[in-house]
């Protein structure tokens, strides 16, 4: 009896949850479906759901018309470059804060996080001006630097939370066995830190990929990544639903898949381990 009730409840839960899940996912699903339609089918009244002539034509047109590959490449360079650069600068910092803490470590960490609260719009013009003076406007180098700086506090924090979880006993044991500081770092700590560093890389890549304020304001033609590429579809002449959908799918697919893989790290990364 009890079993029957449980499985009935389970069925009900399943139905409600799938219903809501699909409802939330629907805009993405609809975009994917529309990307395979012809323009006429994309705006047909009543809308067609699954029974249309599937076509790949839109993807070809998007690539041809606006050189999708160049935007994609810019996104990869900017998100990837800033993440790698950030990691290189943040690993030693987080490392020393986690393993050689001083009284001021906590203050430094909080201060770093506070730079994240600086509203971008408040400092837009100075950055814009500095970029013009230094010839960095509309360059990938410029955006790599900005993205690295806006995400650096998060990278440091995430790494710090991961490093802190490495048990001290293991280090002591290694020291007892006569490991030098170099050996300790290279053979004991680094292997244990790899998972944390990998999730940090992933989350920051996602954040940098989707960031729109700086990319929209500091790039024009040459260095524009996918965020700006999509924004160009907001003009009236860009309003072709099937093409807009194809472009959207091409912009979000890589990051959606990465995001799904890193959902667990997301919680820790974005709350700095404060929610377990």
């Amino acid at each position: 009896m009890a079993r029957a009730v449980t499985s009935q409840r389970k069925a009900l839960n399943t139905a409600i949850a799938w219903g809501i899940g699909l409802l939330i996912f629907f805009p993405i699903l609809w975009t994917i479906l529309t990307s395979f339609k012809t323009e006429a089918q994309a705006i047909s009244d009543p809308p067609v759901f699954l029974f249309f002539d599937w076509t790949l034509e839109n993807y070809g047109v998007v690539q041809e018309r606006s050189n999708y590959m160049r935007f994609l490449w810019n996104s990869v360079i900017i998100a990837g470059g800033s993440t790698i650069l950030g990691i290189i600068i943040a690993v030693p910092a987080a490392w020393s804060m986690a393993f050689v803490p001083s009284r001021r470590t906590k203050d430094i960490l909080l201060w770093m996080l506070s730079t994240k609260m600086l509203p971008a719009v408040g400092v837009l013009y100075p950055i814009y001006l500095l970029f013009i003076k230094m010839g960095l406007l509309d360059t990938r180098v410029g955006l790599v630097i900005v993205m690295m700086l806006i995400n650096l506090p998060i990278i440091v924090w995430m790494l710090y939370t991961y490093f802190r979880e490495i048990p001290g006993e293991i280090l002591e044991a290694a020291r007892m066995d006569g490991a030098s500081l170099k050996e300790e770092i290279l053979y004991v700590l680094t292997p244990m830190a790899v998972p944390g560093i990998a999730s940090t890389l992933l989350l920051n890549f996602i954040l940098a990929w989707n960031e729109a304020f700086w990319t929209l304001n500091l790039t024009a033609a040459k260095a524009a990544p996918l965020t700006a590429f999509i924004a160009s579809y907001s003009s009236p002449e860009g309003l072709f639903y099937a093409k807009l959908s194809a472009a959207s799918v091409m912009a979000i697919a890589p990051i959606l898949i990465m995001g799904w893989f890193s959902q667990k790290q997301l919680v820790r990364g974005l709350t700095f381990g404060a929610v377990k």
Binding site: L113, Y233, Q263
Partner: protein, 288 residues
């Protein structure tokens, strides 16, 4: 335990990150402060000398200021209420036993990874368009006149779009928190005959307190500066001009750097008031 040697090594290792962030914070901040006291119009004569507190006064007394603060607060508040309430509900639902839980979870969190420019454009054209949008078809199907979403229900539309993007974040954080709840306590309460709503009010909700606070604070920081969603939908028209967008227009569109910078200083102050609360909470949890 740390030796003098390792301490100075640590300082050296920290230096690049500290110096870079200090520069990133101080240089633009001081420049903004400097410009805010200038009459500075790059396209109309450039630097026209000191302005004292003129820009500050003009920014606050301009007819666009208070509406933009209101708009900002309505958007932030609306999105927070929707995402937290629905987030708690969804987290509770996803915590229940069901088939395909992993897949449902992937469906629910997907919007968080969608680029803001994409989500704004997809919602604007494919759902909210008064002629070809899905909502228009739906309204017509039920015999109602299609709504001109972004012009007639502009704030509602923006709140809907942004909530869709942030609901996954709230759900995910809250779900993580619910999963750490001691199930024995709930079972004991159930045995004692506590009805579902009081189990929710007296056990689950207090347990979620910290997670909810964190969701609210982190979202507030990001929502105070939403930009892309407004940039590609209404461009700040139809009463959707937030403080961020107003400053953006002053600085880049009308090229009044002095006035925009004064606005920037206000935005920084506003954000810092919020940040102080966030810092307190994160700081408290640092050693936990």
């Amino acid at each position: 335990m740390a030796t003098q040697h390792s301490r100075s090594a640590a300082r050296l290792m920290m230096a690049p990150a500290v110096v870079l962030l200090l520069g990133w914070m101080l240089v633009p901040l001081l420049m903004t402060l400097y410009f805010s006291f200038k009459k500075y119009l790059p396209l109309r004569g450039g630097d026209l000398g000191w302005a004292g507190f003129d820009n500050y006064v003009r920014f606050v007394t301009s007819s666009a200021f208070w509406p933009s603060v209101m708009t900002t607060l309505i958007i932030v508040g609306g999105v927070l209420v929707i995402t937290v309430v629905l987030g708690v509900f969804l987290a509770l639902l996803l915590d229940q036993p069901m088939w395909g839980q992993g897949i449902v979870r992937l469906l629910v969190i997907a919007p968080f990874f969608v680029m803001p420019t994409v989500s704004a454009l997809v919602w604007k054209n494919m759902f909210m368009d008064p002629v070809n949008g899905l909502f228009a078809h739906l309204w017509k199907f039920f015999g109602a006149a299609p709504v001109e979403w972004l012009s007639n229900a502009s704030l509602t539309s923006i709140i809907m779009i942004v909530s869709w993007q942030w609901l996954p974040f709230a759900t995910l954080i809250l779900l993580t928190a619910i999963q750490s709840l001691d199930s024995e306590q709930l079972e004991a309460a159930e045995m004692d005959g506590a009805p579902a709503h009081s189990r929710f009010a007296y056990i689950i909700l207090p347990h979620l307190g910290r997670a909810i606070t964190i969701v609210i604070l982190i979202q507030t920081i990001f929502l105070l500066s939403i930009f892309a969603e407004i940039f590609v939908t209404t461009q700040g028209s139809f009463g959707t001009r937030t403080l961020t967008y107003l400053i953006f227009q002053r600085v880049l569109e009308s090229q009044n750097v002095g006035l925009g910078s004064a606005g920037g200083v206000y935005a920084i102050i506003l954000a810092n008031i919020v940040a102080i609360f966030l810092m307190r909470i994160v700081g408290k949890n640092l050693d936990a």
